[in-house]
Amino acid sequence: MLEITSIEKGIVIDHITAGYGIQVFNYLNLDKADYNVALICNAYSEKMGKKDIIKINNVIDINYDFLGLIDPNATVNIIENGKTIKKVKLEVPDRVENIIRCKNPRCVTSVEHYFPHVFHLVNKEKRSYRCEYCDDIVIPYPNK
């Protein structure tokens, strides 16, 4: 039985869709952390069957738009003195900047590199986004 103890002060990102935990981990650069971090994959979940969880033994800045883009089902719990003092429910962001890159080789973003890469939400269910410049549609993190 794998045991990971609770944390006193930090952040727990729970209910991450199984398989996306590593992407959240990488985005938050947790491989470079000098504090305790646990990435738990395929944990049992009554509601989801299985889920990923990240426990961070530190308070760090989180871009909620990016987390919502990867997995709007995840929840972020802020922990102090071993207790949850705040729960953040994520949402699929309407607009994201400099998180996704356009893969259309005909898009202006493939040749000019000094401006933000902007995508707009087109379908919340599919989590599809449209490039502001070329209108190409991408589903960066499909609903599993």
Binding site: C107, T109, F115, Y133, C134, I137
Partner: protein, 307 residues
């Protein structure tokens, strides 16, 4: 109010704002002399990073017929782009010299990007295989002159619907009008992009069919919009050669069309419309090119706030 606005995509203006442009366009057709000094002292920059005949010449002629003047370049090699200058820097420089600009670029979204860096009105004169909103103005003025309005009609689009930017802009525009129906005729590989099918046609609830034959559908059409297979957008020459002659409109195919079905084409054509069709009174593509100049005159006047 269209003064100082940019036209990058057909969704940038409302129906009412487009109506202002078309109404002025029809007035210019009726009496072009009246407008011959309207743009005295004004300068249009035509920034063409990609070859063009009609669009560039019609923009330049439009400005000259309004009494204004024109600066610009007709290929990227003759601008500082050849030295590695960015689109943003080129446009910011041009803004120091001109009052309004029309820009064509091979990369999709280049005019949208440019519009974020300048304050003068910018017109998208075609960006890669993406959009070409002033061709749409040309098409609509032509449709209105032939049939009064755009509503309650069936439009056939034939050829390269994937890279045909004029098709994307026209579909986007027409999708805002009641009673329109689309017949999309193309090889499977050249069907309309997903964002046009899903986010424009389906979202607006427009009835449409995607088919790969012309003849059975000719009798349903009010307008047939032919397009060239866009050789310059293919990464693979073999694919172009395989697809380029898939649909050729000739006299025999015209015999399936109704007497009141008009043929439009943004031009240039290669061989997708046989020259034997040119004398048919239903072939309207050269008149369409002429209307392009008038409607661009109207657009320039509106964006400069002169009318």
């Amino acid at each position: 109010m269209l003064k100082n606005r940019s036209l990058i995509d057909p969704s940038d203006f409302t129906r009412e704002e487009f109506r202002e442009i078309f109404d002025l366009g029809h007035q210019i057709v009726a009496n072009p002399e009246k407008y011959s000094k309207s743009c005295e002292g004004k300068i249009l920059a035509t920034l063409f990073y990609e070859p063009s005949t009609r669009t560039r010449l019609s923009f330049e002629t439009a400005m000259l017929r309004l009494g204004g003047q024109v600066i610009g370049f007709s290929e990227a090699a003759s601008s500082s782009t050849a030295k590695g200058e960015s689109i943003a820097d080129t446009l910011r420089t041009v803004e120091c010299y001109a009052d309004i600009a029309a820009m064509r670029h091979p990369k999709e979204g280049a005019p949208r990007l440019a519009s974020h860096y300048i304050h003068m009105p910018l017109i998208n004169a075609g960006d890669g295989g993406h959009q070409h909103p002033t061709q749409t103005l040309t098409d609509i003025l032509t449709i209105e002159r032939l049939r009064g309005n755009v509503e309650n009609k069936t439009y056939g689009f034939c050829g390269d619907l994937k890279f045909g930017r004029t098709v994307h802009s026209l579909i986007k525009f027409l999708s805002n009008y009641e009673g329109v129906k689309f017949i999309l005729i193309s090889p499977e590989e050249l069907r309309v992009p997903e964002y046009i099918r899903e986010e424009v046609i389906k979202k607006k609830g427009i009835p449409f069919e995607e088919v790969d034959q012309m003849e059975p559908y000719m009798g349903q059409l009010d307008f047939l919009y032919m397009t060239r297979v866009q050789r310059e957008r293919f990464f693979n020459e073999e694919d172009y050669i395989r697809l380029k002659d898939r649909f050729i409109l000739d006299k025999e195919k015209m015999s399936y069309a109704r007497p009141d079905t008009y043929i439009l084409h943004p031009l240039p054509r290669v061989n997708e419309i046989s020259t034997e069709v040119d004398d048919d009174p239903r072939a309207q593509y050269f008149q369409q090119a002429k209307n392009g100049m008038y409607v661009r005159m109207a657009l320039i006047l509106k964006l400069l706030g002169i009318y």
